[in-house]
Symmetry: C2
Subunit: 421 residues, 2 copies
């Protein structure tokens, strides 16, 4: 394959991964049957306004509703109102939106249909404290949780028990209407109760567990919060709750579905896709080192499978920022990968964020080719220094190897492909 | 599979990996034909005395020779003299041994055979400076190189050009005798010129390159070293050098061969081996996080290949020590793996050093089972705290999940197996 054909192959896999997660592709395929009564569209998340726009175009019938999305993520809709709110720290716009959304789905009949369009980021966007707690008190607990080192599952348990809308409460409010929830997932393992804190999904966790977590991490919670958790009034709907009996939740886009779409592109070109994981996590540069080891194994020994093959993975890595460069998870990964591969022939790669924004800049990601290091050095760039300075974007900009898509308005995390020709 | 059967399966793979690298197994299979003349056995490395012992038992003919091994690594031989020396900082014992070894192989005839038994660690053990440089001056350069951040390939280029025995010089000295070199490799990629600094392998690097490296890393070298490098007298033998024409170098044990031996055990039990790499590198805990992602993918989606399967890998990870616990690469890897797996069912693992010593203690490694975290917590151990404190050995000791073999006297780096049942 020529270098151009190689780039084009890598890029076509990334494009397929993003396309599979775009509302244009995944919403129309998953429309529910039309109801006798009204259709109310609600939803929240970074991709949810784009989902609503596609929905109302495809829904050949009357529709109304309200979406809360992130500032800058609104797209024009004809019938569904779009509200913008703050992320990751909630603001009043989100709270007001959540309150209106709840009242909009109350008092419906079994003939009515509520369509919930849920995507990543919804948890912060749709923030409505339980009645006896102020927004500021809830935020204080949230800040303390983020600092505590508690795993996301424990943070979500507390959040759901301080909220009036999360943990299945939105769907419970819509009872007895039918609820169809279309979900674009960006969480590892696609736990539907976790995406947007699961406003339409039953919550097995309890007030008692939320109290135990507050105690375990010694969270200094306001007295209103303590009282609310102790009162244990208005528990989240549990699995089997009659109010959630007519709720259907469909995963319409996810990291795994996007990896499969990329794998199909490889297969069509007789290149073996090796999907390593949809939720690979770890420090970006170290993940790069490990992937280099696997790629070299494929080249030297034809393991885990013989070349031509492509190692495909998703998930979110992390970057411990030590330098002052312009970086992101994907370009940091690529720089480390290139350094460990050290110019190994016939190994190329692409890594990019499916939302089109990798960290510091509106750049999705980059390519590496076998000559990446040598071209950089010929230009007087020290690749190790670039990595030390977390300057991935600076590095690939000078090499003209960036991938720029603009914000895609969807998100199924990172996409990485390492091609062993 | 019962927990006992699972442990036994994991352990049998590790045992097969170690066995494949033991001199008892790999030396007798690779004996050269007998010479008309004398047989001189030389060699260096941590496993080389054990290799010599096996060799002289298997060699049904007269033999003499000299081996330089690490303190504590001598084993009794009848005809071959064993000298112990310091590692990783060379001492006079190693220097004297190297000098005697050189004179022992000089003046031989084409009818004579020199058998070189080379294993990891030989580079430091067999330290003989070029004539015009003192041992202390050579050590000073070596210390500066280790601090410089230069890659191992560049360090070895300099070392070979300050040495009287490395970089093929031992084999050149043995000319016109036939030389058969049996190598147990512990270096990524099995570069034969790198194991023990390749005393019988041609060296493509030059004095000019060594000077460039000294300049590039601004090594403050003693004037004797500068003069020696500038004189460029007695260049290392290059590929094609007539003195190395009758040298045969055989890789008799390596990380990859050991992984293959483990894979054969899995195959015999109808469990698919997935060899990810013989030289996986990176921060041990991050490698654990990545492996967890791959293992979960196998369980959830049957990718890269369906369960039952076992992810097999080798190579040396690193540990950035931040805590004060008793740790090692393999137990650090396992703790991180267990934390990211978070009790996922049917996933178990073993990680251990094939030399029997994982870092701080004479413990080879450990097992993790699905209940590792819950058992630890029931005992009042916080696994995250153990990881933060780099206390892997402390953690697995209390769980009685250690693997203790004692020093094996061979080394093909780490062995990791993650089993998805």
């Amino acid at each position: 394959m020529t270098p151009e054909a190689t780039r084009s192959f890598l890029r076509s896999m990334f494009d397929a991964a993003v396309a599979a997660a775009m509302p244009e592709q995944c919403v129309p395929q998953n429309l529910p049957p039309k109801p006798k009564g009204r259709t109310i569209v609600v939803g929240t998340g970074k991709a949810s306004a784009a989902m609503a726009q596609v929905f109302e175009k495809a829904w050949d019938a009357r529709v109304e509703g309200l979406i809360v999305t992130r500032y800058g993520h609104a797209v024009p809709c004809e019938h569904i109102e779009i509200v913008e709110a703050a992320h990751p720290v909630p603001d009043d716009a989100g709270t007001k939106g959540a309150r209106r959304m709840l009242s909009m789905v109350r008092g419906l009949s079994p003939d009515d249909l509520v369509v919930a369009l849920i995507s990543g980021g919804g948890s912060a966007l749709l923030s409505l404290p339980a009645e006896s707690i102020s927004a500021e008190e809830k935020r204080a607990v949230n800040r303390a949780l983020l600092k505590s080192g508690a795993p996301i599952s424990e943070m979500n348990c507390v959040r759901k028990h301080l909220s009036a809308i999360k943990g299945g409460r939105l769907a419970a409010a819509a009872y007895p209407a039918r609820v169809v929830s279309l979900v674009i997932s960006d969480v590892p393992g696609d736990d539907l109760a976790a995406v947007g804190s699961g406003p339409t999904v039953a919550d097995p966790t309890t007030f008692a567990q939320a109290r135990a977590i507050i105690a375990k991490y010694k969270i200094d919670a306001p007295s209103s919060v303590i009282r609310h958790l102790e009162s244990a009034i208005d528990e989240t709907p549990k699995p089997g709750d009659y109010r959630l009996a007519s709720v259907e939740t469909k995963l319409i886009a996810s990291p795994q579905k996007s990896l499969e779409a990329a794998a199909a592109i490889a297969r069509a070109q007789s290149i073996t896709p090796i999907i390593l994981g949809d939720s690979i996590e770890g420090e970006a540069r170290e993940v790069g080192f490990v992937m280099a080891g696997i790629a070299l194994q494929a080249r030297r020994f034809g393991q885990p499978l013989p070349a031509p093959c492509v190692l495909i993975s998703g998930g979110e890595t992390t970057v411990t920022v030590r330098g002052s460069g312009a970086g992101g998870r994907n370009v940091e990964f690529l720089l480390a990968l290139a350094l460990k591969l050290d110019g190994a022939e016939k190994i190329t790669a692409l890594a990019a964020d499916t939302d089109g924004v990798d960290g510091a800049r509106e750049v999705a990601g980059a390519f590496i080719m076998a000559d990446t290091l040598s071209r950089a050095r010929a230009m007087g760039i020290d690749p190790w220094a670039s990595l030390s300075n977390n300057d991935g974007h600076g590095f690939f900009e000078r090499l003209c190897d960036q991938i720029i898509t603009g914000p895609t308005l969807t998100n199924v995390n990172d996409f990485r492909a390492v091609f062993i020709a």
